[in-house]
């Protein structure tokens, strides 16, 4: 008993530093515009294009605006857009993924589409959709959201397959319930938690992806600015006033790190909760094998799914929703660039029927 309490304590404390950073970011995105908004927009031609100085710790831009203030103020823009993009991607992806709960044939078609889309790096998808939706805040949110959708669709489909194989869903069918009822009453509530976790983890990826698009000039357009924009501006002046790229670079890295750590911590908490040794709320999620706290799971290998074909896989269960949540995020992080997120290609592998 006390051992497991310790474990929980450690788990909760392990989230301390990242959670503190997260709080800082939330604080900044709420209050930074009011506190530093004036400094960020006050142009002063006399001080334009300054490097690092006592008056302007991180330098000024071409209109003499303080870059540190602008970086702090840009927190809101960067985070809000990231949350929106994640929401867009989540809604579209979950909707596509849920199709497999309603019709097996349509689900298979959706699965094939997801497979093709997942093969492409997210940045390429994002550029593709940026062309479609246009350049700017709205366009980049939709583009990044759309590039996230296949990942959300895949995890939804994987989780859905595990729920649909459950006998309570079969019982529901025997009672004559329609697919729509099953989807919304049984499937959605049972996959909600891991999908939300997956979404939380993806906010960080979205920050990096949106910054990347802005960095390419395809994201927010002046006078709106975010970290990616500030970094790109800093890069163009890097030989003249080297320091000006530092502040946005630090912001991006810190945000990426924070969300990664919070994501990892959340996954551990969920995994720890589901482990037999201790359960905070054990009854909520189907049992998931708890990965050791700091061991990454090999993403593609683990992120397997069982939604391919027909009867033989229908009853197969996905080993661990919690783990399948953790993994894609890890592939996302690992793929070489914040925005060039390439996700794990889920390998559809028929599980042997395990029946009694």
């Amino acid at each position: 008993m006390s051992a497991s309490t310790n474990r929980h304590l450690r788990l909760l404390l392990g989230g301390g530093a990242p959670l503190l950073l997260l709080l800082l970011f939330v604080f900044l995105s709420i209050f930074a515009p009011t506190i530093w908004g004036d400094a960020a927009s006050a142009s002063n031609v006399a001080e334009a294009n300054d490097g690092i100085s006592a008056a302007h710790l991180m330098g000024t831009d071409d209109l003499g605006r303080d870059i540190l203030a602008r970086t702090l103020v840009a927190t809101r823009q960067s985070l809000v857009l990231a949350v929106l993009a994640t929401l867009v991607g989540g809604c579209v992806g979950v909707a596509i993924g849920l199709v497999s709960a309603m019709s097996r044939r349509l689900g298979r078609a959706a699965g094939a589409l997801i497979n093709v889309l997942l093969a492409f790096p997210a940045l390429l998808l994002a550029i593709f959709f940026a062309v479609l939706f246009g350049i700017g805040s709205v366009g980049s949110v939709l583009a990044v959201g759309a590039s996230f959708a296949p990942g959300f669709a895949r995890i939804t489909q994987t989780l859905t397959a595990s729920v649909v194989a459950k006998e309570y869903v079969e019982a529901s069918r025997v009672l004559g319930k329609r697919p729509l009822y099953v989807t919304f009453r049984h499937v959605l509530p049972n996959i909600g938690e891991p999908v939300i976790l997956y979404a939380m983890i993806h906010i960080g990826t979205a920050v990096l992806a949106l910054s990347g698009l802005s960095f390419l000039g395809l994201g927010v357009q002046p006078p709106v600015f975010d970290w990616g924009r500030l970094l790109a501006d800093g890069l163009t002046r890097i030989y003249v006033t080297p320091g000006v790229a530092v502040a946005p670079a630090i912001a991006i890295v810190l945000a990426g790190l924070t969300f990664n750590l919070v994501g990892e911590w959340l996954s551990d908490v969920v995994a720890g909760r589901d482990s037999p040794s201790g359960a905070l709320r054990r009854d909520r999620i189907p049992a998931a094998a708890a990965p050791a706290a700091d061991e990454p799971e090999p993403p593609a290998a683990r992120w397997s799914t069982c939604v391919t074909s027909g009867s033989s896989t229908r009853r197969a269960a996905v080993a661990s929703p919690a783990r399948s949540v953790t993994c894609p995020s890890r592939c996302a992080r690992a793929s070489g660039s914040g925005s060039s997120v390439s996700r794990g290609r889920a390998r559809a592998r028929p599980h042997p029927p395990s029946r009694s």
Binding site: E167, E170, A171, G176, D283, S311, R355, S356
Partner: protein, 331 residues
């Protein structure tokens, strides 16, 4: 006691030539049986013999061919009538843990079984749920708890209440006590027996416990390798088994105390060997078959299925006696 086979009672459920294939595995092969109104048909056989698959096919969970009729109405198909009729056949699963949604309350679970259009208000439906919970000897106050907080026996009773909520005429119980503690098994079995009597339910009772089957059932079908190899009244089959497989099942009973190796996991692996072409499915394992008695070469070359209808207990064995004269009428 009258049985389905001997009586001329109306049949509640007729299954004919049922086939279920999973890819290359033929899980059920040409299964036919009738269940008389208000009677209980037992289904026994080793793990993997296709019992659950028959049950799943009857309620429409497994893709099957063949005909299934309930009071003359075809259960397959997607017509309104078929859908409505299918609700009258309910299945109780072996594992009560996975057959109840962990996010539902017990009341939600049972309410799911109710015909939504039949209740005007939520209160009315709740009252019916409470009634059903009482019917399965549960305190209606458990309605607010979640399945995860109940014991296995309680959960199984919730599952039974949910099935009863649909007001079924045929209830299929698939090894409902297999996942329960021995002490709880008897309680659930008695409950089922009582409900069957009180509600006049027709039942298919799947088990691998012959004593339980004898207690619960009127008729008994023995399955082996996707086929029914023997079918008759429960006394007839248990007291005068005609198929060597049934005899080995019965013979195994007293021995089991000494070698309890019968976990499903152990048996499952041995299944799936290539079938001997032609001949009787059972001939390689048959204690009186060609491996023991070289004279019985017919078992290797000819499938006994064709003549089964003419043998006692429809036994799927070349050496079971044919039905003759006087006994034909009894059968």
């Amino acid at each position: 006691m009258t049985t389905a086979v001997t009586s001329a009672l109306t049949t509640a459920l007729t299954v004919q030539d049922l086939e279920v294939h999973y890819g290359q595995v033929k899980a059920v092969r040409g299964v036919s049986f009738d269940v008389a109104d208000g009677s209980v048909l037992g289904l026994v056989g080793e793990s993997g013999s296709g019992k659950s698959t028959v049950a799943r096919a009857v309620v429409g969970l497994a893709h099957s061919t063949g005909t299934m009729r309930m009071r003359g109405v075809d259960l397959s198909g997607s017509s309104r009538e078929a859908r409505r009729q299918r609700r009258k056949v309910q299945l109780i699963f072996q594992d009560s843990r996975s057959s109840l949604d962990p996010r539902f309350t017990v009341e939600d679970c049972v309410r799911e079984g109710l015909d939504g259009s039949a209740y005007r208000s939520r209160r009315e439906a709740s009252a019916r749920v409470a009634e059903l919970l009482e019917m399965v000897s549960l305190d209606p106050s458990v309605g607010r708890s979640r399945p995860g907080n109940l014991s296995g026996g309680q959960r199984q009773r919730v599952a039974i209440a949910r099935a009863l909520a649909a007001e079924p005429e045929v209830l299929i119980a698939d090894e409902v006590t297999a996942s329960l503690d021995v002490s709880v098994q008897a309680v659930v079995l008695n409950l089922l027996r009582r409900l069957q009597h009180e509600l006049g339910l027709t039942m298919i009772f799947i088990s691998h416990n012959l004593a339980v089957v004898r207690y619960m059932c009127d008729d008994l079908a023995v399955m082996f390798n996707g086929r029914i190899v023997e079918l008759g009244s429960v006394e007839g089959v248990i007291d005068r088994p005609e198929h060597p497989y049934t005899r080995s099942l019965l013979a195994a009973v007293p021995e089991i105390g000494e070698r309890r190796l019968l976990s499903d996991a152990g048996t499952e692996t041995a299944i799936g060997e290539p079938a001997p072409p032609g001949g009787c499915d059972y001939h390689l394992r048959c204690p009186v078959g060609p491996t023991a008695d070289p004279d019985r070469s017919i078992c290797v070359t000819a499938d006994p299925t064709a003549g089964a209808a003419h043998r006692l207990h429809r036994a799927n064995c070349h050496f079971a006696p044919e039905v003759t004269g006087e006994r034909a009428r009894v059968r």
